[in-house]
């Protein structure tokens, strides 16, 4: 699996969880949870993809983590606009960026092995 794809998938999964945790951190948003999860997932997918491309280009773990943090924080910042949940959004979003940055840099790109894969 290549790094951008890996970042995309990991970012997406973390995005889903990020969205769902709104049920715990801000129960009052329950009615909007579907759109929150979709938005959060989309944010995770895009951030993961970008971080994946970055990790492929730049072979440095610290830089990749820093890039992940920046992208995660930036995207989360856009989400915070117009909401009262600045830290509740910016912190988890940044952590997602850091995790994806770390994971994509560590991830070994393997050539496709023929036939049956799961």
């Amino acid at each position: 699996m290549n790094k951008p794809l890996f970042g995309l998938i990991l970012g997406g999964i973390l995005g889903v969880f990020d969205g769902l945790t709104a049920l715990l951190s801000a129960p009052e948003t329950r009615t909007q949870i579907a759109s929150i999860v979709v938005g959060s997932t989309f944010k995770g997918l895009v951030a993961g993809l970008l971080i994946g491309f970055f990790a492929r280009k730049v072979k440095s773990l610290p830089l990749c983590i820093l890039f992940g943090l920046a992208v995660g924080a930036l995207f989360a910042y856009f989400v915070t606009l117009g909401t009262p949940y600045f830290w509740k959004i910016i912190l988890p979003g940044s952590v997602v960026g850091i995790i994806v940055g770390y994971a994509t840099q560590k991830h070994q790109e393997t050539p496709a092995v023929q036939k049956t894969a799961t």
Binding site: L10, L14, F17, L24, I99, K106, T116, A117, T118
Partner: protein
């Protein structure tokens, strides 16, 4: 005469067995090893001032068409692959034996290497063996004597498949090569004393494609498939090497712990009694092993749901751990931010 001491007797037996290298540019330095099929010496090539491994083998009766054997040697000498020991020279000695000079390989035999190397490293070495053998197959050459003693592992983990002395060469390839002129890289093969030079690769009685007489048994017990053990020469094809590779894999899997089931399944399929039940080609065996190493499902093994789940977790261990770490962190954030 006061008799010969044990030490002198041992020495005399050795020197009496020394090949007659007069007329060749080689000089024996020491004996590297003896096998049932010949002796390998460390020799010095006086012409090029370098050390070579010199294998001296006895020519069997009825060696047959020497020209054909020479052509076979050419085919084998052209197997240029990092995993195959290059043959520099070949010829007939005045003492009636044949020799071939190869690159001197430094390293450990696979059996020694396997004693110390962890399983993943052993499996990677096995993958490289498969690559070399597959390359030879692609050039119409079947090794027929793959065993731990015939594989060397260099100091940097490089793998070299040695001793192609009982290799079988596809007839169509022998024909094809015989028409092409000698290249400078042949280093003497078929040139110079060409009349006297003959192939060594066929030195044990095997000929090309159908050169080995039916009923002739070549190879090593435990590392040759049933059809080879029965001397059914006509039935020997690439799948004979697949069987031997299975045996090699079994050797590499030996240890205190029983081998993982998918690996055992790969070994079993490679070593199926019927050639038709084996991997049809070495590439497929290697691909199945690569799938195992990549954490994918192997063709040879029907896995249970539990095994599948376990493999998934093993394969994606890092992301799974990261997701779990994220969730823990998230819970902690909720806890602290809401206080």
């Amino acid at each position: 005469m006061n008799g010969i001491s044990d030490a002198a007797l041992h020495h005399l037996r050795e020197v009496a067995d020394e090949p007659d290298l007069s007329g060749t540019p080689y000089e024996i330095v020491e004996t590297l090893g003896r096998g049932g099929m010949g002796t390998v010496y460390l020799a010095r090539d006086l012409r090029l001032d370098r050390e070579v491994a010199l294998k001296v083998v006895q020519l069997p009766e009825g060696t047959g068409d020497l020209e054909r054997l020479l052509r076979e040697a050419r085919v084998l000498a052209r197997l240029e692959h990092p995993g195959i020991v290059p043959v520099h020279d070949a010829g007939l000695l005045p003492c009636g034996r044949a020799f071939y000079a190869m690159k001197r390989v430094r390293g450990q035999q696979l059996d020694e290497y396997a004693r110390a190397a962890p399983l993943p490293e052993r499996l990677r070495a096995f993958e490289r063996i498969c690559e070399a053998v597959a390359f030879a197959h692609a050039h119409g050459v079947i090794h027929r004597d793959l065993k731990p003693e015939n594989v060397m592992v260099g100091p940097f983990g490089e793998v070299l498949v040695m001793d192609w002395g009982v290799a079988k060469v596809a007839p169509h390839l022998v024909g094809a090569f015989c028409c092409s002129p000698s290249s400078p890289g042949d280093e003497g093969l078929g040139r110079g004393r060409s009349a006297a030079k003959l192939a060594l690769m066929g030195a044990r009685g095997e000929g090309s494609g159908g050169g080995t007489e039916a009923g002739t048994i070549l190879g090593t017990p435990g590392y040759m498939p049933p059809e080879q053990e029965r001397g059914e020469v006509d039935r020997i094809d690439e799948r004979a090497d697949v069987w031997a590779l299975g045996a090699l894999l079994g050797f590499l899997l030996k240890g205190k712990e029983p081998p993982p089931r998918p690996l055992e399944a790969i070994r079993r399929r490679a070593m199926a009694t019927e050639p038709a039940q084996r991997y049809p080609q070495v590439e497929e065996l290697a691909a199945d092993l690569s799938r195992y190493l990549a954490g994918l499902r192997v063709d040879a093994h029907q896995e249970t749901v539990l095994e599948r789940a376990g493999r998934f977790v093993r394969r994606y261990r890092t992301p799974i751990l990261l997701i779990l770490a994220y969730l823990v962190m998230r819970v902690l954030l909720i806890f602290f931010l809401d206080r």
